[in-house]
């Protein structure tokens, strides 16, 4: 655990020390995560909390995918290409500590960003805070972790590091559409089987858990979403265990 935290601290130090990265990620995340729900909330005369919540969760899915999946894929593949991963391994760190530390760092960023976006919406719209805030927080952390793990897989399967960010774009679109980020009208246009498929993504589970957290209710109804996240996490872990590369392809 000491090693994981040391790598996470290193990742955090590099990220927060890079003004352009912080500015880019934070500005993009806040604009995307809070901007559209704010506009929708301001334009609705009926003060429809359900619509604003739907937009909030949809855009949160998009932000989490960008911050967790894309950023993990880009960070790891860049460090692999720069032979920094090899250097970290030469230091005696275990492989799982290096990857785990990177994930902890990314999940921390994603969680902080989600918190900022959510607080902005609670402050400037009529969206109330969740009835079960701990469940909401746990949901964000868990989904960010699974999405970051998927980012590790992207860093493995994308052969060229410069293609990592573009390669995640279809995944970002899928998670956003599936989570309702383009609004109920677009979601309503999707064929049933597409909606069903998109609900299988981790962000589909996030929406279900987060809705319960906002509205309250029986936790026993969360079996499906929790199983969904568990399956994605296991698939990611197996892929990373079997396929992760420390050296660049030559």
């Amino acid at each position: 655990m000491r090693e994981v935290l040391a790598v996470a601290r290193l990742g955090g130090r590099l990220f927060w020390g890079d003004g352009r990265a912080v500015g880019g990620i934070a500005a993009l995340g806040v604009c995307l995560g809070a901007g559209l729900p704010l506009l929708i909330a301001a334009s609705l005369r009926s003060r429809d909390v359900d619509v604003v919540l739907g937009m909030h969760l949809g855009m949160l899915a998009m932000v989490l995918t960008i911050v967790a999946t894309t950023q993990t894929a880009v960070t790891l593949s860049t460090r692999r290409e720069m032979l920094v991963l090899k250097r970290l391994r030469a230091s005696g760190l275990r492989g799982r500590a290096i990857i785990g530390g990177e994930l902890v760092n990314i999940v921390t960023q994603a969680t902080l960003l989600s918190a900022v976006v959510s607080v902005i919406l609670y402050t400037f719209t009529y969206l109330p805070p969740p009835e079960l805030p701990l469940l909401f927080a746990a949901c964000v952390v868990a989904v960010a972790g699974v999405l970051a793990l998927i980012g590790v897989v992207f860093s493995i399967v994308t052969r060229r590091p410069d293609l990592n960010a573009p390669a995640t774009i279809p995944f970002i679109l899928a998670t956003t559409v599936g989570a309702g980020g383009y609004g109920p009208f677009v979601t309503g246009l999707l064929p049933g089987w597409v909606r069903w498929t998109l609900d299988l993504l981790p962000t589909g589970a996030m929406v279900e858990i987060a809705r319960l957290a906002y509205r309250g209710g029986e936790l026993t109804t969360l079996t499906g979403p929790v199983l969904n996240l568990t399956v994605w996490a296991l698939l990611g872990l197996v892929a990373v265990r079997l396929l992760f590369r420390w050296d660049p392809r030559r």
Binding site: E3, L10, R13, D18, M82, R87, R89, S91
Partner: protein
């Protein structure tokens, strides 16, 4: 006691045999040089010894442990200066060492590691602004952080100026004197000759020569060269010589004795041996000789025949020669 034991180690990539059935041992507290031309298999051997790669066949023991299977236990006692590895370019040298201390149990102070590597003055310089040689020194500082029992140095002084190189040599000598086992690869034969007590020369994945450095060189001939006096011819010389133009070259196991004999001969005749040069055998001579032999064997026999020491004669450091 052997700190590093390599037995019949092999590694191939696809159809390319990078390391082919090599064996050697490195005694604790000695410096062992692994030499060879580009592509000889040195770096692959280093990667197998440090647990970055899994051998196809054979075994490696570092401090009695398998560096691949027991990687975390081995790495705790080992410092590795890899030939190719990156840094975080926006961190300073001091920050890099400071961060690496978090990863290293019982690490020495960052200032001490920087001083050992001769980087104290560059502690506040960003890595991206360091020269190639300074980056190698930073690499050394990281490798030395954990006060390792075994130090692997892959091309440690590449890109360094002569003064920095000599400073690093001193650090390596001091470490070995303090009981650290050092295995280094280098292209600088002078470096190997200065530092190592034992060596193995690799070619195409095999060890073609190995053993105690002094014994290996002692077994090679030195040479005395001079300008043949105009009144003499080669047949008159007291020792067999080859003459190219007016330059006479006498090969001898003891070049000092040969020089004395030649000077005595010249003195008796009232002659001067202009341009007299006495050279003991150097690692460079040996290396070039092996390369020439290899080229000749390739020319003579497409299916290369073995020559010199092969893996059935393990190189061994710390006393016992090959």
């Amino acid at each position: 006691m052997a700190a590093i034991q390599v037995n019949h180690l092999s590694k191939s990539y696809g159809g390319f045999q990078a390391v082919n059935d090599i064996s050697f041992e490195v005694e604790a507290g000695t410096v062992f040089a692994l030499l060879g031309r580009n592509g000889a298999g040195k770096t692959t051997t280093m990667e197998l010894l440090t647990g970055f790669q899994k051998p196809d066949a054979g075994s490696v023991r570092v401090l009695g442990l398998d560096p691949f299977k027991d990687r975390s236990r081995v790495r705790g006692n080992v410092g590795i200066m890899v030939q190719e590895a990156g840094f975080f370019p926006d961190l300073t040298a001091g920050q890099t060492v400071g961060i690496w201390r978090d990863f290293t149990p019982a690490a020495r102070p960052a200032s001490e590691a920087l001083e050992l590597a001769g980087l104290t003055a560059k502690a506040k310089t960003k890595v991206r602004q360091l020269s190639g040689g300074e980056k190698r020194r930073l690499d050394l500082a990281l490798a030395l952080l954990g006060e390792p029992d075994v130090l692997f140095l892959d091309e440690p002084t590449t890109g360094m100026d002569p003064e920095a190189r000599r400073n690093i040599w001193k650090v390596v000598r001091d470490l070995a004197a303090g009981g650290t086992t050092v295995l280094l690869t280098t292209h600088y034969l002078e470096e190997a000759q200065q530092l190592a007590t034992n060596l193995a020369i690799m070619d195409r994945g095999e060890i073609v020569l190995g053993g105690d450095m002094a014994e290996t060189l002692a077994a090679r001939v030195g040479q005395v060269s001079f300008e043949l006096p105009s009144v003499s011819h080669a047949g008159e010389l007291p020792l067999p010589a080859t003459v190219r133009g007016r330059l006479a070259v006498v090969k001898a196991a003891d070049p000092d004795l040969a020089a004395q004999t030649l000077l005595g001969w010249a003195s008796e005749r009232g002659l001067r041996l202009r341009g007299l040069e006495v050279r003991t055998a150097s690692l460079e001579d040996l290396f070039l000789e092996l390369a020439r032999n290899d080229e000749m064997s390739q020319t003579n026999a497409p299916a290369r025949s073995d020559h010199g020491t092969r893996s059935d004669r393990p190189a061994r450091s710390g006393g016992a020669g090959a």
